[in-house]
Symmetry: C2
Subunit: 403 residues, 2 copies
Amino acid sequence: MAPRMPEMGMLAPVAGVRIGTTNAGIKQRKRDDMTVMLLDPRATVAGVFTQSAFRAAPVELASARLEGARALVINSGNANAATGSVGREDARRVCDAVAAQAMDVDETAVLPFSTGVIGVRLPVEAMREGVVAAVQKLREDAWTDAARAIMTTDTVPKGISRVVQIGGAPVQITGIAKGSGMIKPNMATMLAFMAVDAAVPQSLLQGMLSRVADVSFNRVTVDGDTSTNDSFVLIASGAGPVQLGTQDLEALEALEVAITDVAQELAKWIARDGEGATKFVTVKVSGGKSSADCLAVAFTIAESPLIKTAIFAGDPNWGRFCMAIGRADAQVDPNTVSLHLGDVCIARNGMMAEGYVEADAARVMAEDELTVHVDLGQGDAEEWVWTCDFSYDYVKINAEYRS
Amino acid sequence: MAPRMPEMGMLAPVAGVRIGTTNAGIKQRKRDDMTVMLLDPRATVAGVFTQSAFRAAPVELASARLEGARALVINSGNANAATGSVGREDARRVCDAVAAQAMDVDETAVLPFSTGVIGVRLPVEAMREGVVAAVQKLREDAWTDAARAIMTTDTVPKGISRVVQIGGAPVQITGIAKGSGMIKPNMATMLAFMAVDAAVPQSLLQGMLSRVADVSFNRVTVDGDTSTNDSFVLIASGAGPVQLGTQDLEALEALEVAITDVAQELAKWIARDGEGATKFVTVKVSGGKSSADCLAVAFTIAESPLIKTAIFAGDPNWGRFCMAIGRADAQVDPNTVSLHLGDVCIARNGMMAEGYVEADAARVMAEDELTVHVDLGQGDAEEWVWTCDFSYDYVKINAEYRS
């Protein structure tokens, strides 16, 4: 059983962002697999991309075209990764088709995004036809369609809308994400797109996005396997009532808080929908000498196969936590380490806590959501990571799904 | 089905090393779980130990007592890890029992080794009685018993004997190892003990051991989860005909080659007996700018859950290899990367190879032993790692075995 999943309500339009989706038959015929987003000429766009050395062709193009971006073209079913120079040319030809359909949009202002099978060429002609169909359907109220069209084997679509008041005027935020779903050949790729109708200068927007990514999507790990296509894009359409500049520090900060909130909700949703997940887990590490130390311990715990299988089994296995904390690339003194599962103290000063009763911890672990809290007892730094457990279904999904 | 496993033949005695084993009832009653090794007064001992910050009490004692070591006391069933200062005191008391039984052996010359459940105190009294029983049985021809007595849930005992000629005289080498077996609470701990009857000064022996460990046990990964108790000990008993000193460079080198060979055989054996393993995999990475780059790529591949499940499924999944190579902490240019599975070229210059037929790769992957060869195309460095696949049984062993 998967952890409790939020339900995606209706997603609100963002003025200045028009969306069209279609089925281009890239991988399957049952639902849309192509999305075109056309942006207001005033829009600014920021992006963060996978750190993989094997960056996919669309990632290379999109990251180079952020400034002056006017349109996004997104497909699921094919990642256009490990496709070399022909892959870049294929991506360019799909972008060209968008420019040809959309008035006043230069082809270098079109950003491509792909997710799906790796090492296979895009079906460019079918996608160019898809672009024509998608552009004909462009409208502001289609975020829900887009949330579905970017899915691969996600079990649910993921999207959130919020309105925040910035300096007395409303800003509409809508964001969608896909992730941790598997598709032939089973790469966990993450894509997220978010738009606000405020105006924000590109350089400020990019800084904001980097900070937001660092405390949202960059805190999710399902199996530690980074994809070749991960992208997170933030659009400030400039079509709403709020226009922000470098001097509006307070308003920019308020907007960043709101965007962070949406991004964190989407990020947690991705962990909940992790492959084969039965539990959603927050790993909190406090008392570190540095944030880096806390993150190192948190990620080591979140990615340890022995801990993930213990969590699947509901086994409060102190020994495995010792192991992971001990092997993390961080300054650790076992004598000051404590561990809580939920509100139950398992260990203190590096040893099983006095009076600890396993049944208490087992009760916490039986829930479909739990918090693992390690206190390193060395300093004031504190960080966290979101993850899920490791079940038979993880092996099943990844072993039985042949490429 | 596990990969083909070597069969342990009779293990030859090493002059100057007497061994006694017994059942001390630490975890189970069916087979011996305690081993005492008493060494010739001329013996020198070298050791390498886990890098975990959570080093178990016996690891702390043993590593501090290498010089002048005269006896080893080894138990399975309990790791004496995460037991704080009482754990160190417990280990000392077991060592004291050995010193009390063995003439002329100071208690600080006894090295303790433990593997098994973490966070639980040793049954010291039972173990002290076990020491008496084991010491009564001391004899040179008991390596086979020791190979069995150090097992936890290894499916087979592991040991190798060799005789090598060094400068015209024979040197007897015998080594045993346990590893990647699981025990409550399921920590993969590795122990290896090797002895030669040559004399080698301790400082030379320690350097030799570090180099040997680096190309043998340090090349094995089952799940990336480093234990709190890993130890590899090399004894030069000095009781045989070959006596080496600092000036005997050629002989020392010949001995190191022979020891390396035995250690590598034992290391591969551990990977073959990895939890739930169905395939033994050698990951070779060539063409790197540095050894560190090659090792980073090799370990990322060997520890990627997505690749390990693909290997379990016999799926020659190029996309997953791209992913792992791309996320490794190494200098990688996708345009020069090639991948072979066995003798089949899957990819060249970062793309699926021309003329590649999946059936050929699937044939390679159907074997229970295979080599993954990545050429980074950037330099002359070359390294390798041994591992196994990731099966339903891995989850089963680690999820169903409750602590």
